[in-house]
Structure formats: C-alpha cells, structure tokens
Amino acid sequence: MNSSDEDWTSAEPGNSRSGQVLYVDVDGFEGPLDLLLDMARRQKVDLASISVLSLAEQYLQFIERVRKKRIEVAADYLVMAAWLAYLKSRLMLPEIIDDDEPSGEMMAALLQFRLKRLEAMRNAAARLVNRPRLGREVFSRGDPEPVDITREYAFDTSLFHLLKSYADMRERNVAVDYAPEKRIVWSLKEARLIIERLVGEGSEWIALDKYLARYLAAPEKRATVLASSFSASLELVREGSMEMRQTLAFGPLLMRRRGQGKKPGRENSD
C-alpha cells in the first residue's frame, strides 16, 4: 500500500503547497472512486462526517482543470462527474416530494457508503498482506518426507471367466487336433447337375422334394440341398430349359422339363 502512495502524490487535487496543479495524472488512480477517496482522505476527517457536497465540488473542479490542460479524461471519470453534478444540484435544491428519483441525501449516503467500503477493502488488503505469510514468515516442512507409493495390481476376474476361457481354449484346441465335422454344402453347380440329371427329359409335373428325396433324408443336409437346388432350378427356368409352378402357398414346388411348345402359363391359350 505504501508504494501506491507515490502514485497518488503525482496528482494533487487539493494541492496545499502552492495552491496550483502542477501535473495531473489521472492514470495514477484506479478509477473515479479511487480519486474521490483520495480527495476525501485529504480532508483529514472521518468519511462518515465528510461533506459530500464539497467533495463533489472538488471533484468537478479537478476534472475541469484536467480538461483545460488538454488532457483527455477516461469516460468513467466523466460519468462520475455528471453524477456528482446531479448530486450537487439535488443537494442544493429543496427536496421535491413524490419524486421518483432518490433524494440528494440518499445519493450522498450512497456515495459515502461506497467510499467507506472501498477504503475498508483497501485496509483489509493491507492487513491481509501484513499477516504472517507462508514462505516469508511462516514455513512449512522444508524437507517433507515423501510417501513411497508402490502399485499393486489386482485382477478383476471371476471364476466364471476363468472357467469359460479354459473351456473355450480346450474346445478350440480340440478342433485342431481332431478333424472337424465337414459342413455339407451343395454348391449351385452341383445342385444344377443333380437336378438336370433327375428331371431328365420327364415332362410330368413332379415336386422338387420328390426328386430330392434321397438327398433330403439326412437332416443336416436338408437346408443346403433345398436352398441350392431351388436356386439352381430358378436358374434353369430363367434359361428356359425347365418349368416350375406352385399352386398354393407353401404347396409343393412342381417342376418338369420344358416340353416342345408346352409352356405352363400358356396351356389354356394353346
């Protein structure tokens, strides 16, 4: 706080030495409230009993002088000047009843409060920095004893996981040692050959399942045999060498060699 006093002496609003402003540096102040507080302090009276009116006048004179000296004043100083000019007028005029605006006394009290509060905070700051401070007057352990942390790893796993991985592994490796069951797949090519052979030159409508009866006997083959032979039959129909029909939904799929001129859809018209 002491060092900042130097800043304030550069601006001497109520210069007592020569009664004239030598040099004005508004930048030395931390805003208009700071400037006002400084002026109030120079009156050497308690802030509570200060004459707000004379303070306002002093501030307005100061700003006036500063502006005459070609110095640009920051906007917030001018705002404060306007407010103080208004305050001054309110204080000097008789109070108007039923006015929405605050009374001059209230405004003056408000200014006093703000000045007191700012001063109080400033004093508090000074008291704070003068407290015994860590690293200056008060010390912590200079050679703290560090905590030696060893990390211990624990595994988050359950018996189920253990057994499952064991079973999976055993099974996996069994599959390597013993030849796995071959999955039977009828390729389309195979199916086509078989169907062509079975249907032969027959021109009778015969259900697909009947043709495939002996292949469908093994249950594990059923799906692949049906799927592949059906696809192959469709291909044969598309090529025009075979005819298919189904009379009701999920009914037997009938097929025959496409005869000489005999086409299923055209039987009636022929």
Partner: protein, 234 residues
C-alpha cells in the same frame, strides 16, 4: 542416537490398570500417527487423508485439537487451514526466519484489492468486484489471482446472465495463515459497519464471506462449463 528414536514415552504412565492403559496407549499411538503424517507433508491434510491410518472409530478432530494444544507453545505449531491441518513454524518467529530473498513478487494494488474483495465478499461476481472498486478491472487481475492459486471460480450466480462467482482457495488460507475465513482480519468490524454488502445500499442484508460449498443463489460449475475450458469468463 538410536535410543532417542525409539525412546521411552514420557507421556504414558504404566500401572494405570489394564483397560485405561490400553486406551491411553491407543490414543498415544493415534496421536503419533497424526503427528508423523502431518510432519512428513508440506501440504495441509484433511481428516479423511489421515483416517485410514488411525484406529477405527477414533475422533480425529479431538486428537487434532489435543495435538494442537501440545504444540501451542512450541517453535512449530499445528494449525488449521479450513478443513485441513498442517504443521507450520510459529508465526511469532517470523521476524527471525523471514526470508527476504524469497520475497514474493509484490502484487499490484489492483490485484491486492481484488483479492481482499473476493475474500471478504465471496461468493462474488466480477461485476460486483468492479462495483466495489468503482472501476472496470482487466481480465488480467483475476487471472493472476487464479494463477497464484488464491482465487477460484466457485459457480454461477442464479441471476440473469448467470455470472461466474469467485471465492478463495484453501491455499489462500494457508498462505495468509488463516484457520478459516472467519479469521479474516477485521471481519467482525466490517460486518458490524455493514461494509460487507456487495450490493447496495447499506440497509440491505449483509452477507458474510461464504465458506460453504454453494450459496443459495449459486449453481455449481458443471465440468463442461465453457468457462473451465477457457480458464476465464467468456
């Protein structure tokens, strides 16, 4: 030398009867553990950090008070810093130990004032700080105080614009040798004079520096609050 390190314990008196002796012994052990933990650390520790090393169900606060009394007149004191405790050299020996070469960079008047306002008025918004100081404060001041570790963003005021609220940190207490915010110098007088009102006018209710987690009109800062990403108010 070895005897000194494992020496007799002058505090315990044998022959007190088995039960009393056991309890006394347990208390003695707990005190030693607290002492050792706090002595080994240069940072204040909270009860929660010490509890795992103490016997279960022990009243750590009471032990800490006891230990603080034992160290009260010594060159090293056990002090409370908010929720935490630490051993610190006695403040009255400061003149002797004072390290001038390690003088902390002197803070600007603006920073000092801002810090005091935050300490006494917390939770306080930047607008309120500016209102008290009567001047717009640059971002730099608050940033500097946060960087020094003395000031933190606490939350957001539940008012239009949801301004960020500021408060002090545990390090602030430690640095200025305050056992709690209630120890702030002149707090009672300021409170009595109605000067701790951050909002106007004097007849308004006077809030105190608020130590709790959150004030009534304060929301916590969410982890994804943009202010946390930028390190300052957007």
């Amino acid at each position: 030398m070895q005897e000194r390190e494992h020496g007799a314990e002058p505090g315990t008196e044998p022959g007190n009867g088995c039960e009393a002796g056991g309890q006394e012994e347990m208390e003695h052990r707990n005190l030693r553990v607290i002492e050792a933990l706090l002595f080994a650390s240069d940072e204040p520790l909270c009860v929660g950090e010490m509890a795992p090393f103490l016997e279960e169900g022990v009243n750590a606060e009471q032990l800490l008070d006891q230990l603080a009394r034992q160290y009260a007149g010594r060159g090293v004191n056990l002090v409370q810093r908010g929720e935490r405790w630490a051993f610190r050299t006695a403040a009255d020996l400061g003149f002797l130990l004072r390290r001038t070469e390690k003088e902390t960079r002197s803070m600007s008047r603006a920073a000092l004032e801002t810090m005091a306002i935050i300490a006494y008025h917390q939770p306080v918004t930047r607008a309120e700080i500016e209102e008290i100081r009567g001047v717009a404060s640059g971002r730099g001041t608050l940033d500097m105080l946060m960087e020094a570790g003395w000031v933190r963003m606490r939350g957001r005021r539940r008012t239009p614009g949801r301004p960020v609220t500021y408060g002090t940190t545990p390090e602030f207490l430690d640095h200025f040798s305050l056992s709690s915010l209630g120890d702030l110098p002149g707090l009672e007088e300021l409170k009595g004079a109605g000067l701790l009102s951050s909002r106007l006018p004097p007849e308004m209710q006077i809030p105190l520096p608020f130590e709790g987690e959150l004030a009534d009109d304060e929301d916590p800062l969410e982890d994804d609050d943009p202010v946390l990403a930028t390190g300052g108010e957007g």
